[in-house]
């Protein structure tokens, strides 16, 4: 199987750096880092937003034949904006998301590409952009 081209998946304000190939051993766990770059002046809600109406950042995977153990988000920043009475729980700048996968013993050896979906909603001090979902391709080499 061919490795997908290393082109950053991006929207107008948020870019995901293409993750390098993950080598994962059968019957073990492996972690993949996803690096996110957010345009200066913008923020996205963290995975635990301060308000029930705010849309959280969320990374999900269609991981078969791997299984997702957990996704670890960075510690959010509490930032006060012109439009908010209270500080908001956000991510800004560059940050990483870690995903821990379990590789079943029955997983077929060889190259696979699994797909992640990063959903987020970005704002700056004055305006908000509609929620978006970026697709991320992770090449995985399953070895015995």
């Amino acid at each position: 199987m061919q490795t997908p081209p290393l082109v950053a998946q991006s929207s107008s304000v948020l870019t995901v750096v293409p993750p390098p190939k993950l080598t994962a051993k059968k019957n073990s766990t492996a972690s993949a880092k996803l690096s996110v770059r957010l345009r200066n002046g913008f923020h996205v809600n963290s995975n635990t937003p301060s308000d029930e109406y705010l849309i959280p950042l969320r990374l999900t995977w269609t991981a078969a034949p791997l299984e997702v153990v957990d996704v670890t988000y960075p510690d959010p920043k509490l930032e006060k904006y012109e439009f908010s009475e209270k500080p908001l729980s956000v991510f800004t700048g560059d940050f990483d998301l870690m995903t821990k996968f379990r590789v079943p013993a029955t997983a077929p050896a060889g190259m696979q590409v699994i797909t992640g979906r990063l959903r987020y909603q970005a704002c700056n001090q004055k305006e908000c952009l509609p929620p978006k979902t970026l697709e991320v391709k992770l090449p995985v080499d399953i070895v015995n």
Binding site: Y53, F83, L88, C123, Q125, K126, E127, C128, P130, P131
Partner: protein, 198 residues
């Protein structure tokens, strides 16, 4: 003689400066923010459902000054404006003014209804869609607010959060323009009793 010429020149300069100062005052600034009548384009018409499932047609508001606000429950800056719009609706509704909110929430009334109820929104709100957003240039960020004149033309556009006084000045300006130019002629009133959340 030379002294008199300098005195006259000085007086002229003062007069010109005074006129400039007067013209830089707030009424002129508001005029600058509101497009000249000849430059206004008709607001694209649409029909969308309100919270009661009734059709709301924008063209039914012809004859009123309309604040058309594209917003969403997930939009922080939009949240700040809502109390302003509640105030405008209450303050100006008897002078031929209405606020119409167009929510761009993907899940529609599931999010919007409790949000409006919690904030006691007194103006009409409809659920928007991509087609209507495209008619208005895509509405790529929120809030995006259009002020429409009594003829249903776009008099001003604001993308992002602006101050309450900007809207207030423009509304006043458009309402006053109506009184001076059209003299309160026949209008097709929207039978839109306010009460978005009711």
């Amino acid at each position: 003689m030379i002294c008199c010429r300098w005195w006259a020149a000085g007086l002229s300069l003062v007069a010109v400066l005074s006129l400039n100062l007067i013209s830089c005052g707030s009424p002129k600034a508001v005029k600058a923010a509101v497009k000249a009548e000849k430059d206004r384009k008709p607001a694209p018409d649409f029909t969308l459902k309100d919270i009661h499932g009734r059709d709301v047609k924008l063209s039914d508001y012809k004859g009123k000054v309309v604040l058309l606000n594209f917003w969403a429950t997930w939009c922080g800056p939009c949240k700040i404006e809502i109390p302003w719009f509640i105030d405008f609706e209450q303050r100006y509704k008897d002078r031929g003014f209405a606020v119409l909110g167009v929510s761009m929430d993907e899940d529609g009334w599931d999010s919007v209804k409790p949000y409006l109820e919690a904030r006691k929104v007194n103006y009409r709100v409809v659920i928007g869609n991509d087609q209507v957003a495209d008619q208005y240039g895509g509405v790529s960020s929120l809030p995006t607010t259009f002020l429409l004149d009594q003829s249903g033309r776009i008099a001003s556009v604001h993308v992002g959060l602006v101050s309450k006084s900007v809207y207030q000045d423009e509304i006043e300006h458009l309402l006053q323009t109506k009184h001076s130019s059209s003299g309160g002629g026949a209008r097709r009133d929207a039978n839109a009793a306010p009460g978005g959340a009711k």
